[in-house]
Symmetry: C2
Subunit: 398 residues, 2 copies
């Protein structure tokens, strides 16, 4: 019954990550593949206490249907935090609560993209965004990254030749590469966009998880009228609640609310109430400091082990925060071939291919340092180094 | 920036219900407009106990990311319940947990509908389905209802002339009309569909809330290979968790999972765990009996008050379950005009227009009997009767 399906659904690239997850059922396999935060750091006791309090004070209403826009006090909390932490003025009315950032991407596709509309995306770029916009049959233009962000010259020529409606970026500790845009690069990007009508989507789930340096200016502060900002509690509090948000100008937010209502009426209201209670009763920044401390040490361990174990000619990024780093094998070697060897050595990662809309850069791979403890990271990198040496010895693929 | 928006988003009819909700902020207004279940019946204490237990036994994992398909034991519970209550054999692998039934509709549109694909819908039909499929730019064919379900002759001619990919129905206690399909009508519908390739969507959020009579056969049992079944815990347990499901054949479910992953990765996992614990520790049928008892008495009160208060020439449905009944004014009178008068008399309802894709039947309206107690129903119907008499006295609109 192939003809029953929509054209769009066949355009969605499969998530290779799901296939890898099957392998990681084996507890002797060390996984750098998952994009998960560390469950060991979840504030479970505090969430439990917040839940208890919501039941005691909220009454039956906490279990009823609610508004499409989301819980008012939670939207106010988010706005206040933007002002306090980033000096960014956001009206709570311009915030829509979503089922995680991923739904933010779906709603943006729904409200903004016609079939064939052009979207600029980083190369490598976030797979979830590629999937979400593929559903709306976007035509992608990939702009390569260097260590400071999207490269300006190819961006300029893409903006000049394509009539891109949207440009998508993860400017802080990008998934998959770990790269952050420097302040200088942000200014260059804004300048390059000046003469276009392209809207910028600034997806920032990792921005708070910074190990070193100071937070650069957000695109939302530099181009408020043209930036749509996405945020999430999945990496800083808990993912299972599926709570993220979109900040957008009035006219766009109005359409996103229509799209949200048609998509699922509203986000789980009980969890919004519990999360808000947690945020009222706890010091989120102190909690984030714990995450920073742990992930930061795990990143150090991973980079040290790579320096010690990997053969020459393997490049990596040096992320200042977040959960991921990016490895590039010498040209001509395929990360998928490496994965086959690595699985035998009981270590896994995500090959870079699905993060490129044009299917290039087969020689890159993503390593996550968020969920694996330091001793295991050292052992896993050792195993991976073994697999790499084996791959290099066999020589380049024909 | 109108040109920034997708064509699809402008196709979505607005939810008139949201506008009415503003009026109902006034506590002196009696509202028959909401489509909400009665919060007074929510099993809040039992949900609280289930939550506590999940925290005590679940560990941090209950707050982590989870699978796109949904929590396995919850899918098994749903399959078992279909077998026990309806004699319907469903494999848990054919169940996808969604953010309420509304997301089921969105995912079906996403995976199945190309722009211009034809969809048969009841007239009146569920507004949420009209909104969800409008997003995918479906072309609707409305088939009128009588007291036994969709009328067969217009259905036959629609199936013969349109090449409908989908047909959407709420066969038990339909929203908005309260109409249920008789067993005989179900067989006629199945026979009419025999020579078509149309898939049937059987949306059944209210089927368990039956005041009298016995449950007819489901379309899923009569045409398993061509029926997609939607269910929900919003009307039988609580709505704020946003937990519904889709049952679909293998090949379709596989595409729905891709669509779900691109839409929001997965449904709130914590709430799935809590709901499952609640279902394990409580007698759902005993709880549903309470709902049936209360809504049944409220329906009786509403029908009695209508019989007593309304002038001659006003028709209503007589629902055997669910939350809604349907009122038809004499031809030539508009329910929207009635609403203006009713608001002055401090009673509100939803005019029927948005439930018709062709904008006809301006003389019908929906009354909800789920959230208003018996004394208030009697008073509200009295006020509404006053408004109707006033409307009729003014005569038909020019």
């Amino acid at each position: 019954m192939q003809e029953l399906f929509s054209d769009r659904i066949s355009d969605v690239p499969p998530s290779f990550i799901r296939e890898i997850l099957k392998v990681t059922q084996d507890p002797t396999v060390i996984s750098f593949a998952g994009g998960l935060p560390s469950a060991a750091l979840f504030p479970t006791k505090a969430i439990q206490a917040a839940t208890q309090k919501v039941f005691e004070t909220g009454g039956n209403e906490i279990l009823q249907y609610s508004t499409t826009e989301g819980y008012g006090p939670l939207r106010e909390y988010i706005a206040t935090r933007y002002r306090d932490k980033m000096g960014l003025e956001v009206n709570p009315d311009n915030i829509l609560i979503t089922n995680g950032s991923q739904q933010g991407l779906d709603l943006l596709g729904k409200a903004l993209l016609n079939e064939g509309d052009e979207v600029i995306i980083e190369a490598p770029g976030y797979l979830g965004a590629i999937q979400a916009f593929s559903i709306y049959r976007a035509r992608f233009h990939a702009v390569p990254m260097d260590d400071a962000g999207m490269q300006v010259t190819p961006l300029q020529s893409t903006l000049a030749t394509a009539r891109a409606k949207l440009m998508y970026t993860v400017p802080n500790f990008q998934n998959p590469s770990g790269i952050s845009y420097t302040n200088a690069r942000r200014r260059e990007v804004v300048e390059a966009m000046q003469d276009s009508r392209t809207l910028l989507i600034e997806d920032d789930p990792y921005g708070d998880i910074r190990f070193e340096g100071t937070r650069p200016d957000s695109f939302a502060s530099m181009m408020p009228e043209r930036t749509i900002l996405l945020g999430s509690f999945s990496k800083t509090v808990v993912p299972s609640f599926r709570l993220g948000w979109i900040v957008a100008p009035d006219s766009i937010l109005e359409k996103l609310v229509i799209a949200k209502q048609a998509s699922d009426l509203h986000t789980n209201y009980f969890s919004q109430r519990v999360l808000y209670q947690y945020l009222c009763d706890n010091d989120l920044d102190a909690h984030i400091e714990n995450i920073i401390d742990k992930y930061g040490r795990q990143r150090d361990t991973m980079l040290e082990a790579i320096g010690r174990e990997f053969p020459d000619g393997i490049e990596t990024t040096h992320p200042d925060g977040g959960m991921f780093l990016w490895v590039r094998l010498p040209e001509g070697y395929a990360a998928r071939d490496l994965l086959q060897k690595a699985i035998k050595d009981k270590v896994v990662f995500v090959p870079g291919d699905p993060f490129y809309v044009d299917g290039l850069a087969h020689n890159s791979l993503r390593l996550s340092f968020s969920t694996v403890d330091e001793a295991t990271i050292a052992e896993g990198i050792k195993r991976l180094a073994l697999a790499i040496r084996e791959l290099l010895q066999e020589g380049r693929a024909a």
